[in-house]
C-alpha cells in the first residue's frame, strides 16, 4: 500500500485553516478520522487575534497522544500576514507541547496529489488552485517551491485585464454580474445560459494553462479548488483550446487532472510533517 510505503501516519493531527472554516483530521494507523469539520471562524481583525484563536482551538481539540501537528493554511492568510507561518507554529507548539509545522494549502495539495494521485516520479508539477483568487503550488526540479508573491499567475496580463478577472470563480460576478454558485446550480439543471458561460470559461482556462506551460513546462497540471465542481461543463472547451497550443508534442504528453481528492491535502500536509521530522 503506497501510504504505508510513504511513512507511518500515526498520531498526527492535521488542521486545515481555510478562509472561512477550520477542518481537523486525526491520523491513526494510516487512515484518517475527522475530529471536527466546518468550524466557522470569526473574521479575524488582527494577526494576534487569528493566532490566539486558532492556537486555542487546536490545543483544545488535540488528542493526548498526538506526536505531530500539521497545520495547512490558505495562502491568502499568509499574504495578509506574512509572519503567520512561523508565529502560528510557535504558538501551537507552546500550547500543545507537540512538534508543529505550518504549510501553504497549495504545497500540501501538490504533495498529497503527487504521492497519492500516482505521480511520485514527476519532477515538475503545478497545482492550479482556482477559487476567488488563483494560486499555484509548484514542484520544480523535484523541489517544492515556497515564494510570495512569486507564482501569482492570476496577476499576469490577459486580454484587457489579468487572468484572475477571467479565470477565478469571482470572474463570473465581474464579467456577468452572476455568482458562480448560482451558475453551477443552474448548469446542473441544464439551463442553457449557465452551460454556455461555463463552456466559455473553459476557453479562458485553456489560455491560462497555455501560459502556465510556456512558463513552467510541467509534466502534470492539477486543477483544484471550487471550480472543479464545474469541470464536466468546461472540460470540452478547455481541451478544445489546448489543442490549439503551438506545440502539439507538448500537449500530447502533458497530464492535466481536472479534479483532486479533497482529503489528499491532509495526507500531503501530514507527509511534509513526517519528512521534516
Amino acid at each position: 500500500m503506497i501510504v504505508k510505503a510513504l511513512g507511518d501516519f500515526h498520531n498526527i493531527l492535521s488542521v486545515y485553516l481555510s478562509t472561512d472554516r477550520m477542518e481537523m483530521f486525526y491520523f491513526i494507523n494510516n487512515r484518517t478520522e475527522a475530529i471536527e469539520q466546518g468550524t466557522m471562524l470569526v473574521i479575524c481583525s488582527s494577526l494576534e487575534f487569528l493566532i490566539h484563536n486558532c492556537a486555542h482551538h487546536i490545543a483544545k481539540n488535540t488528542p493526548s497522544n498526538t506526536e505531530n501537528i500539521s497545520i495547512i493554511i490558505d495562502q491568502v492568510w499568509n499574504e495578509l500576514y506574512p509572519n503567520l507561518i512561523d508565529l502560528l507554529a510557535t504558538e501551537v507548539q507552546q500550547k500543545t507541547g507537540v512538534s508543529t509545522i505550518v504549510n501553504h494549502d497549495a504545497l500540501c495539495r501538490l504533495n498529497g496529489e503527487r504521492l497519492l494521485g500516482g505521480y511520485p516520479l514527476v519532477q515538475n508539477m503545478v497545482d492550479l488552485n482556482m477559487g476567488y483568487q488563483i494560486r499555484l503550488g509548484l514542484l520544480l526540479n523535484n523541489q517544492y517551491q515556497k515564494s510570495l508573491p512569486g507564482f501569482n499567475i492570476g496577476g499576469v496580463s490577459y486580454l484587457d485585464s489579468i487572468y484572475e478577472d477571467y479565470c477565478s470563480i469571482g470572474s463570473f460576478l465581474r464579467q456577468y454580474g452572476l455568482e458562480y454558485k448560482n451558475i453551477l446550480q443552474k448548469a446542473s439543471k441544464k439551463e442553457k445560459l449557465s452551460l454556455a458561460l461555463l463552456s466559455h470559461y473553459g476557453t479562458h482556462l485553456g489560455e491560462l494553462i497555455k501560459t502556465l506551460i510556456f512558463i513552467y513546462d510541467p509534466e502534470v497540471i492539477l486543477i483544484s479548488g471550487p471550480i472543479t465542481k464545474a469541470s464536466e461543463y468546461f472540460s470540452a472547451s478547455l481541451h478544445k483550446t489546448l489543442r490549439t497550443f503551438r506545440y502539439p508534442h507538448i500537449i500530447q504528453r502533458i497530464t492535466i487532472k481536472e479534479k483532486s481528492e479533497e482529503q489528499n491535502i491532509h495526507w500531503g500536509g501530514a507527509l511534509l510533517t513526517l519528512q521534516s521530522s
Binding site: 519532477q123 515538475n124 520544480l140 526540479n141 523541489q143 517551491q145 515564494s147 510570495l148 508573491p149 512569486g150 507564482f151 501569482n152 499567475i153 496577476g155 499576469v156 496580463s157 490577459y158 486580454l159 489560455e207 501560459t211 506551460i213 510556456f214 512558463i215 513552467y216 513546462d217 510541467p218 509534466e219 503551438r246 506545440y247 508534442h249 507538448i250 504528453r253
Partner: protein
C-alpha cells in the same frame, strides 16, 4: 576565467554549439578557454534536413579534436529531454522531431547534451557570468525573439521539453510579448533592426529615442510578469537587443517600479550580460552541468 571547467573538469575539452535560426557556430573550449571557433550560414526554408545537418556536422568538425570528451548544443526551439529529439525550431522547418542528440553522438562518438538556447544562456550566466552570485535567476535572451532560462536553487529547471521560460509566447495586447519585447518591435514600428535603430539613437534621432522608450515600457511589463511568476533574485538580459540597454533602461525600470509588490521591485537585480561568446559557453556548460552533478 575561474570557472566550473577548471573546478570540476580540469582536463576536459568540450565543443559548444550555438544553433541559431540563420547561423551555426561551434567553439572548442579547453579548460574554460575558447581556443577555436567556426561559423556557417544556414540556408533559409530548406526542406531537406540533411543539407542543414551536414552544415552542423561541418561546423563541429572544423573545431573537433581527438581530445574532445563531450558536445553541448543550444537550439532555438524545444527538446524532448528523454530522447534528445528537437522540435519547434525557428526558421528550420525541416527539423521537426529530429533525433539530433543520437545523430551527433553516432557521428562524433562522444556524449551530447542539447537544450534550448535561452536555457543555455541562463546556465552560462550562472556558471561563467554575472549569475554566479545568485541561486535563483532568470536569463532573458532578447534578439529577433525573446526567451528565458530559469535557474532555480542553483540548477537549470529540468523541464520535460526544455520549454520553460518562454515568456515571449505569453498573450499581450494584440499579440504576444515577443512582438513588443524583441527585435520584432523595431521591425514592426519603423522597419529597422535593433542595430540600425541603435545607430540612429546614438546620433540623437528623436524618433529612435522615442521607440526605445516605448520598447522599455513593454519590456518592463514583461519583467513584471517574470516577477509575478518566478520571483527571482536577478534577471540577466542578453542577446543583441541588450546592446541598446542605455536607451531603454530608464523606461523599463520606471515600469518595473510600478509593480504591485514594491519591495520585490526594489530588491530585484537587473543586469546586462558581459559574457563574450556567451552562447558557446552556455552550450558547453550543459556538459559541465551534467559532469558537475555526477562529481558532486
Amino acid at each position: 576565467m575561474g570557472n566550473i571547467f577548471e573546478k570540476h573538469l580540469p582536463d576536459q575539452t568540450i565543443v559548444g554549439v550555438d544553433l541559431g535560426g540563420t547561423n551555426v557556430r561551434a567553439g572548442l573550449i579547453e579548460n574554460g578557454i575558447l581556443i577555436n571557433k567556426s561559423h556557417y550560414k544556414l540556408p533559409q526554408n530548406e526542406n531537406d534536413k540533411n543539407i542543414v545537418l551536414n552544415i552542423i556536422y561541418k561546423a563541429i568538425e572544423d573545431v573537433f579534436t581527438s581530445k574532445v570528451t563531450a558536445i553541448g548544443i543550444g537550439v532555438p526551439g524545444l527538446v524532448d529531454r528523454k530522447t534528445g529529439a528537437i522540435f519547434g525550431i525557428q526558421n528550420i522547418k525541416s527539423f521537426d522531431y529530429i533525433p539530433l542528440k543520437d545523430l551527433i553522438e553516432n557521428r562524433f562518438l562522444v556524449p551530447v547534451s542539447i537544450d534550448n538556447d535561452a536555457n543555455c544562456f541562463a546556465l552560462g550566466e550562472k556558471i561563467f557570468g554575472l549569475g554566479q552570485k545568485f541561486e535563483n535567476l532568470v536569463g532573458l535572451a532578447i534578439g529577433t525573439g525573446m526567451g528565458a532560462g530559469i535557474i532555480n536553487r542553483g540548477q537549470l529547471i529540468s523541464d520535460s521539453n526544455c520549454g520553460s521560460g518562454e515568456f515571449g509566447e505569453i498573450p499581450y495586447l494584440d499579440g504576444v510579448l515577443e512582438d513588443y519585447c524583441s527585435g520584432k518591435f523595431f521591425k514592426n514600428k519603423i522597419a529597422l533592426s535593433g542595430e540600425e535603430l541603435l545607430e540612429k539613437a546614438k546620433l540623437g534621432d528623436k524618433e529612435a529615442l522615442d521607440i526605445f522608450n516605448q520598447y522599455g515600457y513593454h519590456l518592463g511589463k514583461a519583467i513584471k510578469i517574470i516577477l509575478l511568476t518566478i520571483d527571482p533574485e536577478a534577471i540577466i538580459i542578453g542577446g543583441s537587443v541588450s546592446k541598446s540597454v542605455n536607451y531603454f533602461y530608464d523606461a523599463m525600470m520606471a515600469e518595473v517600479h510600478r509593480f504591485v509588490y514594491p519591495k520585490t521591485a526594489q530588491k530585484i537585480t537587473i543586469e546586462v550580460s558581459e559574457l563574450k561568446d556567451g552562447a558557446l559557453f552556455g552550450a558547453a556548460s550543459l556538459v559541465a552541468k551534467t559532469k558537475a552533478l555526477i562529481l558532486n
